[in-house]
């Protein structure tokens, strides 16, 4: 070895957005998810023209109320979904700047402040039309293309920002459009009989939510001046149930090692299951994903070259860094196989959906949002996933502006260590603000965890 250090490459200090990993890409993403990308792009393009087509538009956040909206013949704009899309496309800047100009500071949930920025831009667009002055908002900016709402529906589980966010959006539009609020209580899980999908609390709370959903439908009927199509709702839930079953069956195949698909593939599949129209195309999408995974299993094709560690991801996705993180973890022979955000969300208990009484199953799903449980249930779910997927370590994405997701993380880390000897690390980032991510921090934590796992394994050999 030489002492000559002049030939070594300097440390790269550029933003991760401006550079790519030097290492060979060892990830092998599913190709079938590209279909989902196309579906989502078409969905948004369609939304942008809703007003021209004379459609009623509803803005909402959080909970997947879209089957109700679809049955009512509405067009729906999901706030986080659009913020995530902007961030994934690295186009969140104009919206966040607009939000900041309006007074929403960087410590506020970046989903919310991105979407509020979109609201500000959309509202400016309305003002332009009223004033006859054009050009105030650059219509080429994707962030400014959302159609203005006819009304808002707020139904946010486990996150106080969710309610305030809709309340603020309502005010951005001058309180001119009505808002309906569905209250989703937290599932505390602290009674003696409590647990995931069991106990007296679980039996009662969904009934309360189901009643509110009936009221929501009355509100929608009043707004649209049309009777609600209950058959259409059952049909929508039929497609969602089937899509969800296929999604879960495909996820279950990833318990195999090496895994044929990773958490990042499930992140790419969030939009379809979360807010795409419920129809045969949705079912076909998840059938395609499952088929590709089965093909990979049959032909020993792994999602990460040389899988050596199986990691669970806790935290909301860092949408700015989806591709980056996919490659980054794979570079270290890490297959991220499951996560709280992907595996404990999005119609994850399809057996609860009764097509003859769809609102109850929907209410139940709205309550099992992964940030809406007490700690006891979160611990139960975490250990269950770790066992199912043979988890070696946990990456806790300390989502800077999402307190709801990060609050329990340190206790969950301790639980995994105590109950299963599973190592973990934390790294900072955010859902839609790349400024909070620091690559060195992720790398140090990840590698230190892998070193601990190596040591754990080599000790077991002695």
């Amino acid at each position: 070895m030489s002492l000559d250090v002049s030939s070594r490459e300097p440390v790269e200090l550029l933003s991760t957005r401006d550079r790519t990993l030097d290492a060979v890409d060892k990830s092998n993403r599913l190709s079938s998810t590209k279909t989902g990308g196309k579906m989502v792009a078409e969905y948004w393009e369609n939304i942008f023209t809703a007003k021209e087509r004379g459609k009623h538009v509803v803005w909402y956040n959080g909970t997947a109320l879209n089957p109700i909206f679809q049955a009512a013949g509405l067009e729906w704009c999901h706030g986080e979904a659009f913020s995530a899309r902007l961030a994934a496309m690295h186009l969140e800047g104009p919206a966040q700047a607009a939000g900041e100009e309006y007074g929403y500071i960087g410590e506020l949930c970046s989903y919310a402040r991105t979407h509020l920025g979109c609201a500000v831009m959309t509202q400016k667009g309305i003002t332009e039309k009223q004033n006859g002055i054009v050009g105030m908002v650059d219509q080429e900016e994707l962030a400014s293309k959302l159609p203005s709402p006819d009304f808002f529906v707020n139904a946010y589980a486990g996150c106080s920002t969710g309610q305030q966010w809709d309340a603020m959006t309502y005010r951005v539009f001058g309180k001119e459009f009505p808002i309906f609020n569905v209250s989703l209580p937290m599932i505390w899980g602290n009674k003696k009989d409590a647990g995931y999908l069991r106990g007296s609390e679980w039996e009662k709370t969904p009934l309360y939510v189901e009643e509110q959903l009936k009221k929501l439908i009355e509100f929608i009927e009043y707004q649209t001046k049309r009777p609600f199509d209950w058959d259409a709702l059952s049909e929508n839930m039929f497609y969602i149930k089937r899509a969800s079953e296929l999604r879960l069956e495909a996820m279950a195949l990833c318990a195999a090692a090496p895994t044929p698909a990773t958490y990042w593939d499930w992140v790419a599949s969030i939009a379809p299951i979360n807010f795409m129209p419920a129809n045969q195309a949705l079912v076909d999408y998840f059938q395609g994903v499952k088929d590709e995974i089965q093909y990979r299993l049959d032909n020993t094709i792994s999602a990460v070259q040389n899988e050596k560690y199986r990691v669970y991801f806790d935290g909301i996705m860092n949408w700015n860094k989806l591709g980056w993180l996919t490659r980054k973890f794979a570079e270290y022979d890490v297959a991220v196989v499951a996560g709280r955000y992907t595996h404990d969300s999005f119609w994850q208990e399809p057996q609860l959906i009764d097509l003859d009484r769809p609102l109850l199953g929907m209410a139940q799903h709205y309550l099992i949002c992964p940030i809406n449980h007490g700690l006891k249930i979160m611990e139960e779910l975490l250990i269950k996933r770790c066992d199912e997927y043979g988890i070696d370590g946990i990456a806790f994405h300390s989502t800077r502006t999402c307190r709801a997701m990060t609050n329990p993380q340190h206790i969950l880390a301790r639980t995994a260590e105590t109950e299963r000897g599973i190592k973990s690390f934390f790294f900072e980032g955010d859902v839609a603000d790349a400024a909070f991510y620091k690559d060195e921090s992720l790398e140090s934590g990840l590698v230190a965890m892998l070193e601990s796992i190596d040591m754990q394994r080599s000790r077991a050999l002695v």
């Binding site: 070895m1 002492l3 000559d4 250090v5 002049s6 070594r8 490459e9 440390v11 647990g195 995931y196 879960l248 996820m251 279950a252 318990a255 195999a256 090692a257 090496p258 020993t300 040389n306 899988e307 050596k308 022979d333 139960e380 269950k384 770790c386 066992d387 199912e388 043979g390 988890i391 070696d392 300390s398 800077r400 340190h410 880390a413 301790r414 109950e419 299963r420 000897g421 599973i422 190592k423 690390f425 934390f426 900072e428 909070f436 620091k438 060195e440 921090s441 140090s444 934590g445 230190a448 070193e451 601990s452 190596d454 040591m455 754990q456 394994r457 080599s458 000790r459 077991a460 050999l461």
Partner: protein, 327 residues
């Protein structure tokens, strides 16, 4: 200098931090026979070269006597070495070797701070790092000394002479400077400001410790460990004594050298590619990371998971890093 005939091979640990390069040389018996700490600017490659040359000179050997080098620290990828390890692993190993029995290592360097829970074998049990904010790091104290117009080496002594009753609300390095200037403008004594800032940093470090669990004995490593005021206030906050090393900055490099020695001796050999080793490795895994065999890779609905060992069939990737099994 290494004793003649005491050992015929040596290993080197290099810790390139954000502000300082540290090198430790260990002989075959595990004794540190040479070391050097050099401060020459941010992530300085020149500092590495000087530190390596000086440490070799200190040990009385040449580069040809070094059989393995491991680098660590913020700039570890810049260092010519056989392998890199994180400073978390290296500081834990170094601290455990320098202070046997240690259970909690607090490493505060120029750029970051860490709390590391160490097990009875001196290996990392849990760790927590500061976020990307420079609060509580060496950088933070640089900012404080600049604002107070006191040399960095004297800011700790100044703090020990003051009262810590002032409220310092901001822990952001940039905002803290503003706040310090504001306190000065209000007529506060520099010693009181220094003491209050040190107390606030100690409180923040306590939060880091809470993430891994308080344990003793506690050892501080990194350059900030030389700040006696911070050690004092942190000890008060922890309600535990903090053990001091003779040279806290060398712990990471020493830990890297210890790992280099173990690797050279084959004590931490990775699983080999052959099936026999893979089987043995998997059996070891079963003890180390138990999983629920009832699930056996299936997403069943049962919730009563037991700590049942995993089997080789569910984890066929072992040995793959050695380029062994193709799956």
């Amino acid at each position: 200098m290494a004793e003649s005939g005491a050992a015929n091979w040596f290993v080197m640990g290099v810790d390139l931090g954000s502000t300082t390069a540290k090198v430790a040389i260990v002989d075959a018996a595990g004794a540190m026979v040479g070391s050097k700490i050099v401060q020459m600017g941010a992530v300085s490659r020149e500092a590495v070269r000087v530190a390596m040359e000086s440490a070799l000179e200190d040990a009385g050997i040449t580069q040809d006597d070094i059989v393995r080098t491991i680098s660590t620290g913020y700039g570890r990828k810049l260092v010519p070495s056989d392998k890199t390890f994180t400073e978390i692993t290296c500081h834990a190993r170094g601290a455990a070797a320098l202070f046997p029995g240690v259970r909690l290592v607090i490493d505060i360097g120029g750029q970051d701070s860490k709390a590391i829970a160490v097990d009875s074998d001196g290996l990392v049990d849990r760790f927590a790092m500061n976020d990307r904010c420079a609060s509580g790091t060496g950088r933070f104290f640089d900012v404080l000394s600049r604002a107070l117009e006191v040399p960095i080496g004297e800011v700790g002594d100044l703090a020990m002479a003051g009262s810590n009753e002032l409220e310092v609300s901001s822990m952001c390095a940039t905002f803290a400077e503003t706040e310090v200037i504001s306190l000065l403008a209000q007529g506060a004594e520099t010693a009181d400001i220094a003491a209050s800032v040190h107390k606030a940093v100690a409180a923040r470090t306590l939060g880091l410790v809470a993430q891994v669990g308080k344990a003793s004995p506690v050892v501080m490593t990194g350059g900030v460990a030389k700040n006696r005021a911070l050690v004092h206030f942190l000890s008060e906050a922890l309600r535990l004594p903090i053990e001091m090393l003779d040279e806290p900055q060398i712990a990471g490099a020493y830990g890297a050298a210890i790992i280099a020695r173990e690797e050279h001796l084959g004590n931490v050999a990775l699983a080999a590619a052959d099936d026999a080793t893979a089987t043995q490795f998997a059996a070891g895994l079963a003890d180390a990371v138990p999983h629920c065999a009832d699930c056996d890779g299936q997403l069943g609905l049962h919730t009563n998971h037991g700590p049942v060992p995993v089997t080789i069939a569910t984890r066929p990737m072992v040995g793959a890093r050695s380029g062994g099994r193709e799956l």
